[in-house]
């Protein structure tokens, strides 16, 4: 329960947020001390998680950097209905106001953004259930065994299909045996059902059949799901694998909308505080906090800053009518500079954007050459000659391409199960869809080891290294590397 003075502030900010059109789940605020906030942050925002050492590692790092004053966690909020958010005890009032406003915008985003629509809104409960179940397995099997297995599962955590929650599959279509013919009088038969057409249909059908004999029929993106279905797992093992998969799907939209989500929250805390919430005497303090949130360090992109500025740019463009055919066909710099059609559509537009887009489509659609120039963006890369990271380009096209590359699939490589009965020996064959960037082979080896633990038969990965096809295999004892011709899917 919040103390009275904070409760009044919370209530006030809530009203302001509603006035501005934000629409959020009921949000419960808790005041916690720095140790608790570090603990909760280590648990990924949740009060309870299953036992695992990596939470301890997170905690160690968070507490260390808090101790040395390197970082401080300001806000944390859970995508849940009702939502829970945490305020750090001892923060000053301006901090708390900023955080509360920021949090309401996050919860609005959770509730309304399409990519969050399939997430479990009772995740608090589910996380607690997972914790209880894992603890029970630990009691039965011992922490070493269970934790080791969790490590294995976490290696596979990003092998999911971000889009799969949205695919609605209709009941499996079963092809009728034989080629369907149109009814026709006998003398018309050759015209209505020409022979080569029938043959073509037949071929297609045979192909279909061959395909369905393949396993999996189509290359599978959701490798975790594939393993749950087909790997020889004990009950507790497949239970834990499912839990980790559920959690991965729950967290996935947050990784997919980092820029949009933080940008949205920062846009609104600034708007609310500067227009309605701040006391004049707090203006300087707020400016200090806000500039801290939007600061860039060592030339890295700050998602908060990029997000806010893009929303502001969109709002401005739609207010002035800087979109559509007329705008894009206008070549005169002067005209573009003074363009203002007084449409006032900006606010509506950003609400629409927060509903429909994720980071990939957001950048794809709304990053403009003007914006990139104004924001002084660039791409950087590693220069082998100087052994240094260098600025490589300031070209709009390259920057956009680079950003999209990084954001696509949340920065993870695309990996598929290509064959679950590889070499006809029940080996697993994975395929890395090569999009221009090589895999880190050492990490890949680690994952293969984990996969082998689950699949229990040799596992293989085909990928491209230095423009040559490579088949990396692990049979439980050693790794084999074999040159192959890489066939794209």
């Amino acid at each position: 329960m919040l103390p009275k003075h904070l409760r009044d502030i919370q209530e006030f900010i809530r009203e302001v947020a509603i006035d501005y059109g934000l629409d959020f789940f009921e949000t419960i605020f808790e005041v916690v001390d720095y140790r608790q906030i570090n603990e909760i942050a280590a648990f990924g925002g949740f009060p309870t998680r299953y036992p695992h050492w990596r939470f301890g590692m997170e905690y160690e790092q968070l507490s260390k950097s808090a101790e040395y004053g390197l970082s401080k966690i300001y806000e944390m909020v859970i995508n849940n209905d009702p939502s829970t958010a945490y305020l750090l005890e001892g923060n000053n009032l301006v901090d708390q106001k900023t955080v509360i406003a920021h949090v309401y915008a996050h919860v609005d985003f959770f509730k309304n953004n399409y990519w969050f629509s399939k997430t479990n809104r009772k995740m608090m409960d589910q996380m607690a259930n997972h914790a209880t179940k894992v603890r029970r397995y630990v009691d039965r099997k011992g922490i070493e065994i269970v934790e080791d297995y969790i490590d294995t599962c976490l290696s596979l955590e990003n092998l999911i299909d971000f889009h799969s929650p949205f695919i609605e599959r209709s009941a499996e279509q079963k092809n009728e045996p034989g080629v369907a013919k149109m009814d026709a009088k006998e003398y018309m038969e050759d015209f209505i059902n020409p022979e080569d057409y029938l043959n073509r249909q037949k071929e297609k059908m045979l192909e279909q059949e061959a395909k369905s004999r393949r396993f999996p029929a189509e290359p599978a993106r959701d490798i975790m799901q594939f393993l749950i279905h087909y790997a020889p797992l004990e009950d507790w093992e497949s239970d834990i694998l499912s839990m980790i998969r559920d959690e991965a799907y729950y967290f996935a939209p947050q990784r997919q909308t980092k820029i949009m989500n933080e940008g949205w929250a920062s846009y609104w805390h600034e708007k609310m505080l500067t227009t309605k919430v701040l006391d004049l005497s707090e203006a300087i303090d707020f400016a200090d906090i806000h500039s801290g949130v939007l600061a860039t360090a060592n030339g890295q992109l700050n998602p908060y800053k990029l997000g806010v500025e893009l929303y502001q740019d969109i709002e401005d463009r739609w207010n002035k009518g800087k979109f559509g055919r007329e705008w894009s066909e206008c070549d005169s710099m002067d005209e573009r500079e003074d363009w203002d059609k007084n449409l006032g559509l900006g606010r509506d537009k950003i609400f629409e954007v927060r509903k429909l887009y994720n980071d990939v489509s957001f950048i794809d659609e709304f990053l403009t050459p003007e914006f990139v120039r104004r924001a002084k963006m660039y791409t950087f890369g590693y220069n082998e000659k100087t052994s240094d990271w260098e600025i490589q380009s300031k070209e709009f096209k390259k920057i956009k391409e680079q950003m999209l590359n990084q954001l696509t699939n949340s920065g993870s490589p695309f990996i598929y199960v290509r064959d679950g009965n590889f070499r006809n020996r029940a080996e697993l064959l994975l395929h890395h869809k090569f999009l221009g960037t090589q895999l880190d082979i050492n990490y890949a080896k680690g994952v293969l080891k984990a996969l082998h633990r689950v699949w229990k038969r040799p596992v293989n990965l085909e990928t491209l290294i230095e423009d040559e096809g490579l088949l990396l295999s692990y049979d439980g004892k050693e790794y084999l590397e074999e040159k192959i011709t890489y066939e794209a899917l």
Partner: protein, 372 residues
């Protein structure tokens, strides 16, 4: 409201894993010598090799990224990418490959070292288990000088007496202590077991001892310090360098002097004996002389002299005498053979040949394995 002990179990598990990793890689740390430089405030920072969970990911140097700020094409990012700023920037290489650095206290490190090397704990020698007497004012007694009167206790006693005699009036609380009420502080003599130790490092800095040889000595001395520190309350270190003559120096000079010329080992032993006799009486101190050399002494006469100083002077006054012979391309390596001959079967003399860095681990084990 969450209780903040849920994380403790995970935290403990993490620390266990870290301990395991350190133990696993102890041999490596012992040969790298990186820890030595970071020593300070009784804490060492130990870089732990990857303790993360492997996932399919892009090679970091392959992918590059996007950034924001001033600068022209070709400008350096200034160390960017090596340590990703937590949470900054979109997904990509920003997660960085920070190898984890954990703080380990010297005690913990010594403990790990003891477990891994199976070192026995050192029993300080019987005759040297000196008890020091310290006076502590902890008690109260009824007689004593006025200057030690315990004001509060005295008034308490007076109050008790007055209440029991019914001469105390709460409305007019006047308390007058009489002689019997007075209480005085008294001291108690407590004896503290004292086990102090001194390490006397001697090193040959003649021309034949190169940088690498000195580095080996430096690394080895760090681990010896660490272990002995954990075994004794107070540990002092003295440093002697010698070529044809010996002198006492500070730690810094000890490790960074480059002298040349011949080698008279006896000069160092004489100086060490002097130091022991003057500053470290047999009854109060556990003495550990360590001598490192490439084993190339000036003359056999001098070697004979060395043996007699050791036999009659140093060894009777020390817990043990350790000689580490660092292999050098110039040294003859004769000295260790002479020592071996002279002290065959003497338990207090430990000899170790240190071929290269990899041998440090075993040589430490040899030195400390006896628990003397």
């Amino acid at each position: 409201m969450t209780k903040h002990n849920k994380i403790n179990q995970d935290h403990r598990r993490f620390k266990q894993i870290v301990r395991g990793k350190i133990k696993q890689n102890l041999r490596e740390y012992m040969t790298q010598g990186e820890l030595t430089g970071k020593q300070g405030k009784k804490i060492v920072k130990i870089p732990i090799p990857r303790i993360d969970i492997p996932r399919f990911k892009y090679g970091s140097k392959e992918s590059g990224g996007t950034g924001q700020g001033d600068g022209e094409v070709g400008d350096s990012m200034g160390g960017e990418g090596e340590e990703g700023q937590g949470g900054q920037g979109p997904a990509g290489n920003q997660e960085g490959e920070h190898s984890l650095e954990v703080d380990v206290s010297m005690e913990e490190l010594a403990e790990l070292m003891g477990e891994e090397l199976e070192l026995p704990r050192i029993e300080p020698r019987g005759t040297k288990r000196l008890e020091t007497i310290r006076e502590k004012y902890t008690g109260i007694r009824t007689i004593g000088p006025e200057s030690l009167r315990h004001f509060k206790r005295t008034y308490k006693e007076a109050l008790k007496r007055q209440i029991s005699l019914d001469s105390y009036d709460p409305d007019n609380p006047i308390i007058i202590p009489i002689r019997e009420d007075k209480r005085f502080r008294s001291y108690k003599e407590t004896s503290l077991p004292q086990s102090n130790a001194v390490i006397i490092y001697m090193m040959d800095v003649s021309g034949s001892m190169g940088e690498e040889q000195k580095e080996i000595v430096r690394i080895e001395s760090f681990w010896l310090d660490t272990w002995l520190q954990s075994q004794y309350k107070g540990l002092e270190s003295r440093f002697i360098i010698h070529d044809a003559s010996a002198r006492e120096v500070d730690r810094e000079t000890f490790f960074h002097t480059r002298e040349s010329g011949g080698t008279m080992i006896s000069s160092a032993y004489k100086l060490a004996l002097n130091i022991i006799e003057e500053d470290y009486p047999l009854e109060d101190w556990n003495v550990y002389p360590f001598h490192f050399s490439d084993g190339d002494n000036w003359s056999s006469d001098d070697t004979t002299q060395c043996m007699s100083i050791l036999r009659d002077g140093i060894i009777p006054r020390s817990n043990m005498f350790c000689y580490g012979q660092v292999e050098s391309p110039y040294g003859s390596g004769q000295f260790i053979k002479d020592l071996r001959e002279a002290f065959e079967g003497t338990e207090e003399v430990v000899l170790s040949e240190i071929k290269d860095r990899d041998a440090i681990y075993d040589s430490i084990k040899e030195f400390l394995g006896k628990g003397l």
